[in-house]
Amino acid sequence: MAEIRFENVRKMFGEDTIIPDMNMTIKDGSFTVIVGPSGCGKSTTLRMIAGLETQTEGNIYIGDRLVNDVSPGKRNVSMVFQNYALYPTMTVKGNIEFGLKNRKVPKAERQKLIEEVADIVGLTPYLNKKPQKLSGGQRQRVALARAMVKKPDVFILDEPLSNLDAKLRQQMRSELVQLHAKLGTTFVYVTHDQVEAMSMGDEIVLLDQGEIMQMAPPLDLYNYPANRFTAQFIGTPPMNLVSVDQLPSAGFNEKAVEQIGFRPEKAKLRHFPGNDQFSMPCTILNRETLGSEIIYQLDTLAGRLFAKTFNEPVVDAEQLFVSVNNEDIYYFKENGRCIAPYLNRETPIKVRSTV
């Protein structure tokens, strides 16, 4: 059990700076998900914790221990790899046992530990099989067992579910969350999939170009995005953004506001303008019916917008109005920072646009 601390960590590959200056503390016992678009430095961050990469500058602590010069095997960190990285020439048992043998754990104890983890992940009948004989999900469990058996301080998972099919992925997601609850170890999980991040993490680190855009619990990230990047990254379809230039009759008591935004699921489609603060005529370009929800693509004077409805009848009129409640509108400054509506509840910003 340990927290992980990054102190002014900088990572360069040759001339390229991958991570300029990272400071963060991953809480002891948390399930922290590092998420971001590809190339944002999330895997590098993870590999620096494991010791597979060494930072160019700065310090990394696991618990109270400065691990800058500690080799990967001695950090007491376990890792689950994207392609499982099982030793193909060893049996399932051999795979789980390899790390224990290298640590000179006595045989009787090894046996006990293996039986224990095999039982937890349900691999007991497969212990003497080679990995090639197992299904994707079973291989995944071997990788987990191999990581667990070492009773690490930190559990690192690098996109472990990306090779599984959708159904199995769903199942493994909840299994991982339960496993975390059972073990209570710090989990650091990397993914590019925001759904995975939102559904599994109790803390999310959103990275972009090596910088932490926001670090917060999932719902905070959704409800109170700190900036435009977070607002757009979390949620599907992404948050609608409308430049204030395209809202001629809008009035703001905050001068620096450049854009307003609202989530598609908060947009309402009406046959009349209504009384909301934001309302705009629109035509429906496209309609995706997904069952319980329907996603509309709208053409408005402010460009293309998305709207998402739940359990509502299909709207098939061509000419409509899209409107949003005042408290559902986010305001973004020029530098991308978000002034969330909850900060302004007492002095509502007037936005009105009926063109």
Binding site: A50, L52, P72, A85, Y87, T89, F98, G99, R103
Partner: protein
Amino acid sequence: MKTSRYALKGLNVLGLLIVIAIFATPFVWMAVTSVKSLSETITFPPVWIPETIRFENFALAWDTGPFFRYFVNSLVVTLSILVLQLFTIVPAAYAFARYRFFADRALFALTMITLMIPTQLIFLPVYLQFSSWGLLDTHLALILPFAANAFAIFMLRQTFKQVPEELLEAARLDQASEWKIMYMVMVPMAKPTIITLLLFSFITHWNDYFWPLVMTTTDASRTLPVGISALTNVEGGVAWHIMMAGNMILVVPILIIFFIAQRHIIRAFVYTGVK
């Protein structure tokens, strides 16, 4: 329409049978000759089925020289080469595949140049070298130059390079030493390649005639192929039946192994030939 299809098919099979005949007949003829009497070898038109099967020809051939000695020499030389190669090739291929070190490219280039140097080019200077070391006509002279094999290093390096990086990282996280990663993780993965290369090496050196011919001067170190070739100058003219009997001793075991492990052997040669 239908008949011409059948005719074509028949023609095809006939053609294939002729192809088989072209490659099988010489061996059959070797076998037939090896059990003939002397007089049956010098008749024309040739006799296909000898009157009596003379197995004593094999004993006669065996007794023309110290064939047991040759056999032991062949075995010692070939097996020594295989063992030594195992100890030189695996580490070298591993180092070339997995480490960056000063002059690694230069040393690899040197290996590749060696790959292109045939023994027919260097036998003279190597002979002089061995003669100055007093190693001529010893097993060492037949073994040492082949203690490493550039081609095998190249092939095995390719195999090691194909092992995903993740696997090594997993092993490092499992606190495995570099040495352990090599022989517990990497070498087992390369086992098929290693076996293929050893098979290839075995056949090459078991059959080799040129090098032992050049480096040996007495029966003490001659190998089977060189010993067998002496059957061409048996006193009192050529005795084809004895000569063929001697060659049967050399050829039949290899042919049997070939037809048992045909798939593996063909794959070994094709695989080592294409890449």
